[in-house]
Symmetry: C2
Subunit: 290 residues, 2 copies
């Protein structure tokens, strides 16, 4: 059992290995230590400087540049590398686990990853996908944030072979960090996040890229908010967009239809049609709150 006896009602894991000590991995380690959810946290990465930084920030009790050496005595591995590396990193971790080990990830896409990892891992390891809806356009351990998962939604995406008890363990893990957990089918997850996250990133980036330099002195809060996520890591987002290509293209087509309504209404000085689209947008935006 990866879950040891609860201490003061908090699920407690003896050892958790975090693979990838970037913004999310480091934030995760900080919370595991700060909340006493894990006794030991091993931080794994390729860059010793970043690992040292993460350790200094209190995100782990030890660090290593060797993934295989870091998972032999762990109960839970959380893979926090870019989506294009998740499958390989999970496979490598699974191949080196000695005990019953749960492996999860924090990737923004789930269908292809879960399909690849749902079966065929060595018997000592079982993978259950996760996607915490938390992050930042900033990268690296220095961008880590305390309480990153508090009140945030984490989607857990069991595959066909997932044991319900394993999914419950992973859900309990995220809840111990303050998150609200919801379960979704991996393909359904990818369809929904195309609209809620991937299209917004693409649109925000397109807006920034389409802004002539001469306009920058006159930008204010509106431009700054609308383009904020365009500051994110281009390689990381290329991976995400390609991994969820079909859903993103479908969401983009819907978006382009709405843009067309704007263009049409403007071209024809159609104030009523303009107000209508803007009201529709406001209704949906206001439904969220600030």
């Amino acid at each position: 059992m990866p879950l040891s006896q609860p201490v003061e009602h908090t699920p407690r894991w003896d050892t958790v290995t975090i693979v990838g000590m970037g913004m999310i991995g480091t934030s995760l380690g900080i919370e595991l230590m700060r909340r006493g959810v894990a006794g030991q946290v091993i931080g794994v990465g390729r860059d010793p400087k970043k690992l040292h930084m993460a350790e200094t920030m209190g995100a782990c009790t030890s660090v290593s540049t060797s993934l295989p050496a870091s998972v032999t005595d762990t109960q839970l591995v959380v893979v926090c590398t870019p989506v294009s590396r998740i499958v390989a990193d999970v496979r490598q971790a699974a191949a080196c686990c000695r005990h019953e080990t749960l492996i999860t990830d924090v990737g923004s896409t789930k269908a292809a990853i879960v399909a690849e990892l749902d079966r065929g891992l060595p018997p000592a390891a079982r993978f259950i996908g996760s996607h915490p809806l938390a992050g930042s356009e900033k990268t690296g351990p220095t961008a880590a944030m305390q309480n990153l998962f508090e009140g945030r939604t984490v989607v857990v995406t069991p595959g066909k072979a997932t044991r319900p008890a394993d999914a419950a363990q992973i859900a309990a893990f995220w809840k111990a960090l303050g998150a609200k957990v919801t379960q979704m089918d991996p393909a359904e997850h990818d369809r929904v996040v195309a609209g809620s996250s991937h299209l917004p990133h693409l649109v925000s980036s397109a807006l920034a890229a389409a802004t002539p330099r001469e306009c920058l002195p006159l930008v204010a809060g509106g431009w700054a908010d609308t383009t904020r996520v365009a500051g994110g890591d281009p390689q990381l987002w290329t991976d995400i967009l390609l991994e969820n290509k079909d859903n993103v293209l479908a969401s983009l087509a819907t978006f382009e239809t709405v843009l067309g309504r704007f263009r049409q209404a403007l071209s024809h000085n159609d104030a009523r049609a303009l107000v209508e689209v803007l009201q529709e947008a406001k209704r949906i935006r206001d439904a969220l709150g600030s």
Copy 2:
């Protein structure tokens, strides 16, 4: 002379009339009073409840629902009504001024307004357009903010008939509220804000309107930031977009070209092209800072 003797190096106006006590008008009044830039502030509006609220918030020393009665003994009138009402409100104010009175506005578009008001006002009044790049998607006096203009850019847009001394007075007025002032030709201003403000609003609204309801439970900070300004007032933004129609349509065409590059790159699994657009976007976004 609208400018009385400086008090402790601050330009001081005996009486300033603010027409339209919404978010901007009320924030303006609060700063004029708080900084001692004006001795008296008369708040003018159509809704007695909102006027009372603005007065309670310290934004004015008296209120009135009559524009004509509120400008007879004032040195400066600031018209803070929606762009579609500015020309009529300035004309009405100008017709009722008894002394040499400067009139400015805070409208988001300038070319048509300045062209209409640059000449032909009664001799007692002279109009010089302003556009403070400050605001919020929230409306009404209760959304007013202290220090709204501190560090913000205000564009002053002299017309062909504007006397340089008048433009300097208006610049000094905004500087006294902490703003950085820049002068621009009205048509050039409209061209630039189409890209820096009006297109971002349109894009943000299109994204909100294109988001299926089922996606809302999985939105996070990215969607929230990118769609924030879509919560703005639909009628107010309809006026702005229509007033700056040609420039907004041109900016929209540029934006759609970038969207097309994204669509093309995604459809062809062209990671290099995707990284390129995302890097371009990041360079422009990072040039601004957070």
